[in-house]
């Protein structure tokens, strides 16, 4: 048994590549250690400036930690395709709404694509898709193809827009990928204000300018709703009693009935709802039987922000608006968060393109003295009275609570509206402090796992155990360096995969050593026993590695997120152990044999 030059070359090469690939991680670690060691901010700044290239370079190439270890958000968002298709339809009637409502309900639980669900629901009713979609001469197949295309475009656009929003907000190395034809996977690390990011991501940012209807129309509609609810209450007790919260200071000319129990009507005809009853009223306005009572061309909406009335409590104004928008956010070219001229009130200034400017001039010119509401994602931000024709395409959103919110509005308006609402359907967020705990737990597991196994190997196999342990060390190095080299990230399940790999990697050596012991006990010489051990154990080792690799690969293909991290390290570790356990230890023994350093006792 002699050393094979090619194998020696391979071992040296693999070791060098591993160390070379992990070197930046080590530099990154030691540089940040050094940075931490400076007592004064001045010193650390000086150090950062003088080593800037080195620090950046090391950071870029170092082993990336997963979101669970450094803290971050993993989000899966879904484009609301039902909404998208509803937007694409025309001639919408009650039947259409009913069918789409069924599609919506089944899409919440079913894995089938929304297109298939839509097609099957229409087919059940024996209605051709062309009655509502595209051209009447189109066949169902042509329409589904078009809708499918629309869905793909919508996903691509949503991804673009969300990327813009994240870039504007400023997150280091965001990862945004699409999955299937309606999902986006978003991974963000190091987020200070999760709530703000969620709001930024999920808002459709659909900006609309809508005309307000006269207040007497609003009151007539509310009267109608109220009496209908009274009639319903007489039939059953379905409507919850939400009385109270009506301030005494405010004059009322309407009271009694489920609706007027929660609404406050002022003398000037404006209507308010107390903040405690907001959810109830919002849900009420969304009910289809309530919607049917509102004139076809109008809709009821609440303000985005409450006003404080005389009694010092918060009330949301209620508006009746024309359903068809006069102008939409598509014409906005520039948005800027600033403060209002009068003082500290944050607001967002908007500029329009030439088409929007012309339209805006015409609309404002034709509606002087009337109110136009600025509606964002179904909430009224402000509804100013048009004083004069606006010729320059400027408009402003006020009624904003904080500077941060103004800033976020600027971001979403600039990035443009999403083609359809996008909802969060999965979220995994780990805070940075838990991440630090995970790192500590992972490191302790890794070290104790290695110590436990290597101690056992030393005690049980003595000299041969040293070789096996060297192989395990190389194995861990290879796994980490492959992760670093391919910019894959290391997660807690990934560390678990490495720890498990330690246990499995020595198994190959156990098989070999047991075989060698058998050969020795049959009276073979040490050289022929070692040779026979490697040869005869090989087939079991290959089989076991192949089956483990296959399971890990399937886990990687079918699993998501955390489990994939485990599968990846297990795959790399298993593949590496074929090399380390067989080639590396064999060369170690060949070297020791050539130096007469091995005897029958060396295998325990």
């Amino acid at each position: 048994m002699k050393n094979k030059p090619f194998n020696l070359f391979l071992i040296v090469l693999v070791s060098i590549v591993s160390i070379w690939s992990l070197w930046p991680s080590w530099r990154d670690y030691s540089l940040s250690k050094q940075l931490d060691s400076y007592a004064s901010a001045e010193d650390s700044l000086k150090f950062t400036l003088s080593h800037r290239d080195e620090i950046e370079n090391a950071r870029k190439k170092s082993l990336k930690l997963g979101l669970d270890l450094k803290g971050g958000m993993h989000l899966v968002m879904e484009v609301d395709q039902v909404d998208l298709f509803e937007q694409k339809a025309w001639n919408k009637d009650a039947k259409f709404n009913e069918i789409m409502e069924r599609v919506r309900r089944s899409s919440l639980t079913s894995n089938a694509s929304v297109i298939d669900l839509t097609v099957s629901e229409f087919r059940k009713e024996n209605i051709r898709l062309s009655r509502y979609f595209y051209d009447i001469r189109n066949s169902d197949r042509e329409i589904t193809d078009k809708l499918r295309k629309e869905a793909e475009d919508a996903l691509a656009r949503a991804r673009e827009i969300i990327r813009n929003r994240i870039d504007q907000y400023g997150v280091a190395e965001p990862v945004i990928t699409t999955q299937g034809n309606r999902r986006l996977i978003i991974e963000l690390a190091g987020i200070a204000d999760e709530n703000r990011v969620r709001n930024l991501l999920k808002g459709t940012a659909k900006l609309e300018f809508k005309l307000l209807r006269e207040s007497d129309v609003l009151l007539r509609v509310l009267d109608k709703l109220n009496s209908s609810l009274v009639a319903q209450r007489a039939l059953s007790f379905g409507v919850p009693d939400t009385s109270g919260a009506v301030p005494q200071a405010v004059s009322q000319n309407r009271s009694g009935g489920p609706l007027y129990d929660v609404l406050t009507v002022m003398d000037n005809g404006s209507v308010y709802v107390h903040e405690d009853s907001r959810d109830f009223v919002t849900k009420l306005f969304r009910r289809s039987d309530i919607k049917a009572l509102v004139p076809q061309d109008s809709e009821l909406l609440l303000a985005a922000r409450p006003d404080q009335l005389q009694d010092g409590q918060n009330y949301y104004p209620v508006f009746l608006l024309r359903k068809t928008a006069e102008l939409t956010g598509g014409v906005i070219t520039e948005a800027k968060a600033t403060f209002s001229a009068e003082g500290a009130q944050p607001e967002v200034l908007m500029e329009m393109n030439s088409e929007g400017t012309a339209k805006w001039a015409r609309i404002t010119g034709a509606n002087i003295g009337k109110r136009i509401a600025i509606v964002l994602d179904g909430a009224v931000y402000s509804a100013p009275v048009v004083q004069s024709k606006i010729p320059n395409g400027n408009s402003v959103i006020n009624g904003i609570e904080s500077v941060e919110e103004a800033k976020d509005l600027e971001i979403v308006l600039k990035a443009g509206a999403l083609p359809a609402p996008v909802r969060i359907i999965e979220e995994r967020t780990v805070g940075p402090s838990l991440g630090a705990d995970y790192i500590r737990a992972g490191m302790i597991s890794l070290i104790s796992g290695f110590l436990a196994v290597s101690m056992f190997m030393l005690v049980y196999y003595r000299v041969a155990g040293v070789a096996a342990n060297a192989a395990v060390v190389l194995n861990i190095l290879i796994v980490l360096s492959v992760l670093a080299g391919f910019s894959a990230s290391l997660s807690l399940p990934g560390i678990a995969g490495i720890v498990l790999t330690i246990g499995m990697a020595v198994d190959a050596n156990v098989l070999i050593y047991e075989r060698i012991r058998e050969e020795l006990s049959e009276g073979k010489s040490i050289v022929s026993a070692v040779t026979a051990g490697y040869d005869k154990a090989f087939s079991s080792i290959l089989d076991s590695h192949v089956t483990t690799l296959a399971s890990a690969y399937l886990l990687y293909t079918f699993g998501i997120g955390p489990v994939q991290g485990f599968a990846v390290t297990l795959m790399i570790g298993t593949a590496a152990s074929l090399f380390t356990a067989i080639v590396v230890t064999k060369e170690i023994f060949a070297f020791m044999l050539s130096k007469n350093m091995l005897s029958a006792k060396s295998f325990g």
């Binding site: 999760e194 056992f456 498990l500 005869k536 089989d543 079918f558």
Partner: protein, 311 residues
């Protein structure tokens, strides 16, 4: 040092007893699965989970009542870390609202004990059903792949017996999860994605031990008469016994380390792998090889093994 050296245990003699034990274990598990069912984690059930960690020690019932007062629905349990609690509730894509609700409730009612929401997980119903389906496919594909590979490397009877042994291992661990689920507060044993990962790891590992035994049988059985099979299989089992125990032992050691040190997120996984490897080791000795023997005996066929050791 040597353990289990030169044993001469008549494994095949005890195979009927072993079959009985195995069947009993599986049946008990199945009964529990049928009546008690499994404790599904949010991966498969859908829902939201929030882990809140406090600065100072606090009683779970106190936190529970505070959250209840604030109108937070869901169940609160001790989480397997210091001063931490896990709230599980129905799925909501609006984690902002949930988070704000909890933050306000705890801050207002327990101002002297700072808290932090360290983890939020939320899985919608469509994702949950996707994950369930994917888990099922992964397990099925793994079994098929192993059947195919071992079938090619040995022969169909060996492969089938090996896959039955894997089934046996996974079923028993599944039964254990059903029986023990929810009993220990430090380890809720919920079925989630990580447990599927554990099952696949166990499947890969169980066949490893089995293949080692098969390999030895293949080495010795070639050209022998069926009447000698019993002795050969018994000898092969005895000769490979020590390596079967040691390989499982080293892996069990690392899994034990994971169970103790890697924290609550890994604990369920570590438990499943630990139990799976223990049972997998047992099954490769007492289930897989004896099944092959019985199959050969009943069909009165001779072994036509492919491949062979490289010697």
């Amino acid at each position: 040092m040597r353990i289990l050296h030169n044993t001469t245990i008549d494994f095949l003699k005890y195979r009927k007893v072993a079959y009985g034990i195995s069947i009993a274990l599986i049946v008990v598990g199945l009964v529990s699965l049928l009546f008690k069912g499994l404790n599904y984690g949010i991966d498969f059930r859908g829902g939201s989970e929030v882990v809140v960690r406090f600065e100072k020690d606090i009683d779970v019932s106190r936190v529970r009542s505070v959250l209840k007062e604030a109108g937070v629905s869901g169940t609160l349990k001790q989480y397997g870390m210091d001063r931490s609690f896990l709230l599980s509730t129905v799925f909501s894509g609006e984690t902002n609202e949930l988070k704000t609700l909890i933050d306000n409730a705890v801050r207002d009612r327990m101002p002297d004990n700072a808290h932090e929401i360290v983890r939020i997980e939320s899985v919608g119903p469509t994702i949950a059903s996707d994950l369930k389906w994917a888990a099922f496919k992964a397990l099925l594909a793994a079994l098929a792949a192993i059947l195919l590979y071992v079938g090619i490397r040995f022969e169909f009877k060996f492969a089938t017996a090996g896959v039955i042994a894997i089934f046996h291992d996974v079923l028993i661990v599944l039964g254990l999860f059903s029986i023990l689920g929810g009993i220990f507060s430090f380890m809720p044993l919920e079925m989630d994605q990580s447990i599927i990962a554990a099952f696949l790891t166990v499947a890969g590992y169980s066949i490893t031990d089995t293949v080692v035994v098969y390999d030895r049988i293949r080495e010795r059985i070639r050209g022998r008469k069926p009447s000698e099979y019993e002795a050969i299989i018994n000898q092969s089992l005895n000769q490979t016994l020590s390596r079967t125990i040691i390989t499982s032992g080293t892996t069990l050691l690392t899994v034990l380390v994971l169970f103790i040190f890697a924290g609550p997120a890994i604990r369920g996984f570590a438990f499943a792998v630990f139990a799976g490897i223990l049972i997998g080791t047992y099954s490769s000795v007492f289930v897989a090889a004896p099944l092959v023997y019985d199959w050969l005996r009943v069909t009165k066929s001779t072994v036509k093994l492919r491949g062979g050791s490289a010697s």
